[in-house]
């Protein structure tokens, strides 16, 4: 019983982190109808920045969480503000329209970041060891490593902050209006080009947050981003594309399914189970488990 409980807790906690990544992906898709293939690589960059900040300055990464966020946001600014904008301005698209054009550009960006990281930082696995890395917290009968607890708290806080921003501020409303109907929002005086950029900045900042926390939990290596990207794809489908809060619940679901599957079925099939759930949901309910709920 205690094993099941621990498995569920671990699932919820990693799921929360996946959620922070997936919410950003869903936001970009919602606003621009473009799938950000490089989203996981943003997380990877943040992980490396966190690692080196700790290596060079010996500061606790949670205290300087803004540095990796700023670095990732700067990359996102270049990607959306220059490259994607340029491709839209040229108005010539790869066959399959804007969706495929944006996707392929982001595939290129993803390869740039991933292999750039490999060139600069070598493909070696690194891990960030902090003074509190091996601490354990007992919840009921389960023992949960402290990094997981901190990760979960941060991801919940980030998501709540995001939710409040989207529902309570004018800018958040403008973004939601753009998600629901781009043309109508633009007619109502929303500068949709600016909204694109803001969506990218928010999404990348969340990827940055996730990266900082992920760095304390996972090995850091150049291709780690692809793992996160693919997980975020699964989650956004589970939660309904364009529905950011749905994505968060989809993430919790994926986290639980993965950790339960890893313990009770086979560790090696952990990833495959996620994809199978993904396909089943796609087939039965392509609009996502929480399809109608749009934030």
């Amino acid at each position: 019983m205690s094993l099941l409980f621990e498995t569920l807790i671990a699932g919820v906690m990693t799921g929360g982190l996946y959620g922070v990544i997936a919410v950003g992906l869903a936001l970009i898709f919602g606003v621009m109808r473009v799938i950000n293939f490089a989203h996981g690589d943003f997380v990877m960059v943040a992980m490396y920045v966190t690692y080196f900040l700790h290596l060079w300055f010996k500061i606790d990464p949670l205290l300087v969480i803004f540095v990796p966020i700023a670095v990732v946001a700067a990359i996102a600014f270049v990607v959306e503000g220059f490259i994607l904008r340029l491709s839209r301005a040229r108005g010539v698209f790869v066959l399959g329209g804007k969706e495929l054009t944006g996707l392929m550009i982001l595939v290129g960006i993803s390869m740039l970041l991933e292999n750039g990281a490999q060139i600069v930082w070598s493909p070696n696995y690194r891990s960030l060891v902090l003074p509190w890395s091996s601490n354990v917290i007992s919840i009921w009968s389960a023992k949960i490593p402290l990094p997981y607890v901190i990760a979960f708290i941060i991801s919940i806080l980030t998501t709540i902050l995001f939710y409040v921003f989207m529902t309570k501020t004018d800018l958040g409303r403008a973004i939601r209006a753009t998600v629901i109907n781009r043309e109508a929002a633009s007619l109502m005086g929303v500068d949709t080009d600016k909204i694109n950029l803001i969506a990218w900045l928010i999404a990348s900042a969340m990827a940055g947050v996730a990266g900082v926390v992920m760095a304390t939990l996972f090995y850091i290596y150049p291709t780690v981003g692809l793992v996160f990207t693919l997980k975020a794809f699964i989650i956004t489908i589970l939660g309904g594309m364009g529905s950011a809060i749905g994505a968060f619940f989809g993430a919790l679901l994926l986290g639980i399914v993965e950790s339960v599957g890893a313990v009770y079925i086979a560790v090696g099939y952990k990833e495959a189970i996620g994809y199978i759930i993904f396909l089943i949901v796609l087939l039965l309910k392509p609009s996502g488990l929480f399809g109608r709920f749009r934030v």
Binding site: F29, R33, I35, I83, L86, S87, R90, V92, F93, V94, L95, G96, E99, L100, T101, L103, M104, I105, V107, G108, I109, S110, M111, L112, E114, N115, G116, Q118, I119, P123, P222, L226, L230, F233, I234, I237, M241, A266, G268, Y269, E271, A272, Y275, I276, F278, L279, L282, L283, P286
Partner: protein, 321 residues
């Protein structure tokens, strides 16, 4: 566009296709080394897969981000036939395409319930599932270690002992495959595909059975991609999951397709050799482990999409030759 102009442009593309084929036929006569021939063989393998990708993604408009699901099945069928049935791995050239085509038929039913970006993501998931099946199914696939394929030079009347025979074999295979795919794309069937791509609802209202023709395109694409995969493993004599179902071969095929022109089957005859040589050159220049080749490929993709999003074939045919 006037029909005459259209036909003229198509015939220009066909001339490019013939010209490249003639050049490729003559290359071994120039006394180039085995190294160059090996690269050319690899580029021809990917050329077949790319042309097949263009049929489903460029013509029928269904973006398949993981053509490796067919490619990998072809790759593994050669190895598994040799390993578990003790037969010649060249039998994979027969089994691989059929297996891939039947897989396309079956997986097509659920996949084609999805549209646009959803379809693209779902194909990616299918590719990843197959990848993990191969990684974990150690008892039949050898896991990440992979499988060796016994070298069997004699097949029926052909002797594959030297690289020249392998080269001409894949060249003929590539020529026939692309020619068949090209004829299909130019036929009534191809027009159905394009109608579906341009507007599914209109196509349906004109009496085109959308699901049926998507399935046909998917199966054809699967068949030829599987063929390419089956030859690939016979050539390398070795299979492992990431070269068969990995993300790198998948993206290579997609990028070659877009570089040549997604809606031009024959575009692959320019893009596949070009891209393979660029990648190989970068590997020579910087060393294989440095990831410089993929880094440069990333820059290239972005530039291609910004500068010539409709593909190289249009640049070539637009030039006055």
């Amino acid at each position: 566009m006037k029909r005459q102009q259209l036909v003229l442009r198509k015939s220009k593309r066909f001339n490019v296709f013939l010209l490249v084929t003639v050049i490729l036929c003559l290359v071994p006569q120039l006394g180039v080394g085995t190294y160059i021939l090996r690269i050319l063989i690899l580029s021809l393998v990917f050329l077949i897969a790319t042309s097949a990708w263009c049929l489903i993604s460029g013509y029928a408009g269904q973006i398949n981000l993981a053509p490796t699901m067919f490619f990998g099945l072809g790759v593994y069928s050669s190895a598994l036939v040799a390993r578990h049935l003790g037969l010649s791995p060249w039998l994979g050239l027969l089994i691989g395409p059929l297996l891939a085509a039947s897989f396309a038929l079956i997986i097509g039913f659920p996949l084609f319930r999805l549209h646009g970006a959803y379809f693209a993501l779902a194909t990616l998931a299918v590719g990843e599932i197959l990848y993990y099946v191969m990684v974990n199914g150690v008892w039949f696939s050898g896991g990440t270690v992979g499988l060796q394929i016994p070298f069997t030079p004699k097949v029926l009347f052909v002797d594959f002992n030297d690289i020249y025979s392998q080269y001409y074999f894949i060249l003929v295979l590539a020529f026939l495959s692309t020619y068949i795919l090209y004829r299909i794309a130019m036929s009534r069937l191809g027009y159905y595909f394009m109608a579906i791509r341009d507007d599914e609802d209109t196509a349906m209202s004109m009496g085109i059975n959308v699901l049926k023709y998507k399935e046909v395109a998917f199966c054809l694409s699967g068949f030829f991609t599987g063929l390419a995969g089956a030859f690939y493993s016979n050539f390398l004599l070795y299979v492992e999951p990431s070269m068969a179902f990995g993300i790198t071969p998948a993206l290579t095929i997609v990028i070659m397709g877009i570089l040549g022109g997604a809606d031009a089957i024959l575009g692959a005859w320019i893009s596949a050799p070009l891209l393979t040589f660029i990648m190989e050159g970068l590997r020579l220049l910087f060393g294989a482990a440095g990831a410089y080749d993929l880094f440069t490929l990333g820059i290239l993709i972005i530039l291609i999409i910004l500068v010539i999003p409709r593909g190289l074939i249009r640049l070539v045919t637009a030039a006055k030759i």
